[in-house]
Symmetry: C2
Subunit: 253 residues, 2 copies
């Protein structure tokens, strides 16, 4: 964790080693208290929020840059990361307005004229994340996906696009495997799918389907301590899950 910050640097000191005009932004998704959440950053001295992101260095691949940024913001290595779109419009944002808002953080002279940004979404285990701001920001926090405020740049649009991509790729990506802790209950898994799909599912049909796929194993233990009947705990059966995903056979209808 201590060595995450040294990568950041000020714009001045690292400018020379960056790929010009190419940045990336990450939609980091977690799941907590039955809600999908996104990690957002608040810029120093403002109430303005944005997605975590940054430039690509000359000596690293684009994917490596995404992993670096993820590591810096969450403390996690080995994150599930998926490129989903390139945002390449000429005027991706109202430059003047944003320059003005952030002038005490970023020297307005140093703004790129234009930047093409590669969008990634990341699926992380909420409970393992330690949110950390970067050099330009002073707060890094989870936001409920339903309650995202207006963000800087085109970042609201990026989040929408990421969720659409995630939905489309639901049957090809190890969604549950990455978003849930090692052990979880069937209702938790169901609500995760419901959040992503944006509709409710029948618990009997859901359980039958998941069990028939064989992607989870029921454990002996139940989750104790909550009010109400103690639910069974499950674990993903990784081998089985990956076998099905390579065939794209995890569709939900």
């Amino acid at each position: 964790m201590p060595d995450t910050v040294k990568h950041v640097g000020t714009p001045a000191e690292s400018q020379l080693s960056l790929l010009p005009l190419l940045t990336l932004d990450c939609i980091i998704l977690g799941f907590h208290e039955d809600q999908l959440r996104v990690l957002l950053l608040r810029w120093k001295g403002t109430q303005e929020w944005s997605l975590p992101g940054g430039p690509v260095r000359k000596d690293e691949s684009v994917d490596a840059a995404a992993h670096r940024i993820l590591k810096e913001r969450t403390g996690l290595d080995q994150i599930f990361l998926q490129q989903f779109h390139v945002f390449g419009d000429v005027k991706r944002y109202e430059r003047e307005e944003i320059r003005e808002k952030l002038k005490h953080v970023v020297d307005p002279e140093k703004w790129y004229e234009r930047a093409v940004s590669i969008g990634y979404y990341a699926l992380v285990d909420y409970s393992k994340v330690t949110p950390m701001p970067d050099a330009f920001t002073e707060e890094c926090q989870w936001w409920d996906i339903q309650e995202i405020p207006p963000l800087l740049f085109d970042h609201n649009h990026m989040i929408d696009a990421a969720l659409r991509a995630l939905r489309m790729q639901l049957s090809w990506q190890p969604i549950g495997y990455n978003l849930l802790p090692d052990q979880f209950t069937m209702p938790e898994l169901q609500r995760l799918y419901e959040m992503i799909l944006g509709r409710t599912l029948d618990p009997r049909n859901f359980q039958r389907k998941i069990l028939a796929l064989g992607i989870v194993d029921r454990l002996e233990a139940r989750r104790k301590g909550g009010a109400h009947k103690a639910p069974y705990l499950y674990q993903f059966n990784k081998a089985r899950y990956e076998a099905l995903l390579t065939e794209g056979n995890l569709s939900f209808s």
Copy 2:
């Protein structure tokens, strides 16, 4: 057609107005004689082939650049184009070897140190395309997807990735609508799906499914002139097709 060439320009004259280090490459797919085909370019004075592509200009969006390049190579406007991946490795190709091979076409001093390339696939009606080489190449030709030669850069890898993306998006994209001519037969449509999926389908089940979806209308006429029994002609029912696609309900199993 005459005004497609004026966009090309030599590297020298247009260098200043380009986004540095950002290029794109297009996998242009057509369907002819029961085969999926890709449009490739042969570099001047060599036997080396590559995908059509090029840099992004400072005053155009990335998507606009892709449409421009498509128009230049095929003569077609309004092409179906889909971004599918960013190729961002530091060493995407063996620079030295390729510089050497192409030194009589591109001044080795002018090679970028590194370029990040955005991959697009395009689905076109083979019969409407007029292949046209660009400023660096002298031949533009369709190649059977099964018989692609070793290409420059990482372009063989790009084609593989495009086909994987196409397969994954089969139930969300208007594949047939863009790859087939206005009128087509059921066996043609079936073989298109077979080519993309890489396996054979049962003709009875295929026909039943397509007709049940209602995405095509059978015409009065049959295709005459071939040997053997004359097949019915069909047309896409565009409205119905798009309605199903927005729900992702065109899966093939």
